[in-house]
């Protein structure tokens, strides 16, 4: 039933030739290849600025005995937007949460298989989970700014609380606000409370907060589901601008949104991959019958 586009898949999963990225080489000359806890963790996890490819290999995820994700093999191209669609409960969010290892924060939840960031297995026991989260940022369904912090403190919270050099913090915070398209709206009230913003602004604040730590990949789990159409449009435009700097994986229950923002779309059903392909193709001439039924509204 594997109906993925074989050429695209091959292109995305091409092994990275740079030995620094490959933990299996073990060559001393290659320097530190796997991060361990410590200030250098981040540096060694992000070998090259232009990267940000995510590859899943036989990924399984469980909640206790429930088998939510059943053996996914797929890849997310660097610098592109990939949308994940599928009916409720098909494992979209669970899969995405495996990429930054947030899945295992839930009691009784575990994941098996490999998630490779630029060829580096994020589930390798030597990997520091905190470093994974810094390399793979996340934006959630409901905007969740920290209620005790000002707008600017929210943006730089990831930097400040992870020990970034003091001198950089202001600049990187401002830059993240500009990148999230929020600077013009909040520059006069950076010290105001983050929760005083509108829902859409709060969500862009959360995007700025995620961008400030300069991740390779940004996961967005239904980022517009709590927003009105205008705020949604604003976020969708932003996604188009941001793919220049980060790989974006967006879970959405809104197929029009997937069609508007994504370069590639993944359709999942019952924890399994049904189809991955260029967005236009998936919505117009899908290979799999179930994909066609879903995108034409016959179920889901």
């Amino acid at each position: 039933m594997d109906s993925r586009n074989p050429t695209e898949s091959a292109a995305l999963t091409e092994p990275n030739p740079d030995p620094q990225l490959n933990p299996q080489t073990g060559s001393a000359a290659a320097g530190p290849t796997i991060s361990v806890a410590g200030p250098n963790a981040r540096a060694s996890l992000r070998p090259s600025r232009a990267q940000g490819t995510i590859e899943l290999r036989d990924l399984h995820a469980y909640y206790g005995r429930t088998h939510a994700v059943r053996g996914l093999d797929l890849a997310f191209a660097a610098g592109k937007v990939t949308a994940i669609i599928g009916p409720s409960g098909c494992g979209k969010s669970t899969m995405v949460r495996c990429i930054n290892r947030m899945h295992e924060e839930i009691d009784g939840a575990r994941a098996e298989g490999e998630v490779l960031l630029d060829g580096l297995d994020l589930y390798d026991p030597r990997i520091d989970i905190v470093a994974v989260r810094r390399a793979v940022g996340m934006v959630f369904q409901k905007p969740n700014p920290f209620p005790t912090m000002s707008i600017f403190d929210n943006v730089v919270s990831g930097l400040r609380l992870s020990g970034a050099p003091r001198g950089e913090i202001d600049d990187r915070g401002r830059e993240a606000l500009v990148a999230a398209g929020l600077w013009e709206e909040v520059k006069g009230r950076l010290k105001g409370p983050g929760v005083g913003l509108s829902g859409g602004q709060q969500q862009r604040l959360c995007i700025a907060r995620a961008l400030a730590v300069d991740p390779e990949v940004l996961l967005m789990d239904e980022p517009c589901s709590a927003l009105d159409p205008v705020a949604t449009l604003r976020i969708e435009e932003l996604i188009g601008e941001l793919k220049e700097r980060v790989t974006i994986v967006i879970v959405t229950h809104n197929m029009q949104q997937a069609a508007r923002v994504a370069d590639t779309t993944v359709f999942m059903l019952d924890g399994e991959l049904v189809e991955i392909g260029p967005t236009e193709k998936l919505f117009t001439t899908p290979d799999d019958e179930r994909t066609e039924q879903y995108v034409t509204g016959k179920f889901g």
Partner: protein, 293 residues
């Protein structure tokens, strides 16, 4: 078929009985609520009426008269209570909050559930038993001291602080912790910089309620800090006067003036406890706003 189409919607038969039961239950619950409020009003009111005459600036700022004479005040008892409760709070609040942080943020359920259970039991231990325990530990073979009383009160406070702190920390939205995790913030940093500030109002509330609860605690004080040397106002190494013990002693006195003084001291104590409760509520309201509850 001449039935009025409204028949089915009219209040009769089953529906009428249901309504009567509903009214009866409502009336009983309102009565219970009124009774609870009435008890408080009667207690506070009678303490106020009986104590307000003896209450004066002189009463609050003068130490107790010697040899059970009337005409003195309770300044030494106020200072003593403040020292005893202050030391108890300084011991119990940090430990209680740390226990709560450990059980809600770090410990697995196999540890946090037994700890919670133990705290509930500790909360149910009669304070006279806590007092005897500390008596055997610190006073027997030595001498009474305000510090021993503080230790006993700290033991009484600890489960109150820890349990309320657990409840409040559990109210901090999981979405904030998720956001912190997703930013790659280490767990302890998240706890110190995000979870605790968000819950701060509620943590203060729990601590204030615990202080209010032990401020009037009498049984351990009688055992541990009641034989007060003349002239000792502030040394916690010796026994210190306290408001609850003053009330106890004055109400045992044969002199009617002493009884009035006991009521006045009771008024001071109850006013303090009520004020703490009001402040605690204000902090709690602030905290709830923050947590969107």
């Amino acid at each position: 078929m001449s039935a009025d189409p409204h028949t089915l919607l009219l209040d009769r038969g089953n529906l009428e009985r249901r309504r009567r039961v509903n009214r009866a239950v409502e009336a009983v619950s309102i009565a219970a609520a009124v009774l609870a409020v009435a008890v408080l009003v009667i207690v506070v009111g009678s303490v106020f009426l009986k104590g307000v005459d003896a209450l004066s600036w002189h009463f609050l700022t003068t130490p107790t008269a010697l040899f059970g004479e009337a005409g003195g005040g309770i300044s030494n008892a106020i200072i003593g209570s403040a020292i005893i409760v202050g030391i108890a709070a300084a011991m119990a609040i940090p430990v209680g909050i740390l226990v709560a942080i450990h059980t809600t943020e770090f410990a697995p359920p196999q540890i946090s559930h037994p700890v919670r259970f133990v705290l509930d039991i500790l909360n149910g231990v009669p304070t006279i038993i806590t007092g005897i325990f500390v008596f055997g530990l610190m006073v027997e073979g030595d001498k009474q001291s305000a510090f021993a009383a503080s230790v006993a009160l700290a033991i009484v406070m600890l489960p109150i602080v820890a349990r309320t702190a657990q409840e409040v920390l559990a109210l901090v939205p999981g979405s904030l912790k998720e956001a912190a995790h997703a930013l790659g913030i280490a767990r302890w940093r998240m706890t110190v910089r995000i979870t605790i500030p968000t819950a701060a109002g509620g943590l203060i509330t729990g601590s204030l309620l615990a202080v209010a609860r032990v401020a009037g605690e009498t049984a351990p004080i009688i055992l541990l800090s009641s034989i007060v040397g003349q002239g000792n106002l502030t040394d916690p190494g010796e026994a210190l006067a306290s408001i609850p013990y003053f009330i106890f002693q004055a109400s045992e006195s044969p002199k009617p003036e002493a009884h009035t003084e006991a009521w006045a001291a009771a008024l001071v104590l109850i006013a303090f406890v009520l004020a703490l409760n009001v402040v605690a509520r204000a902090f709690y309201a602030r905290s709830r706003n923050r947590m969107g509850a």
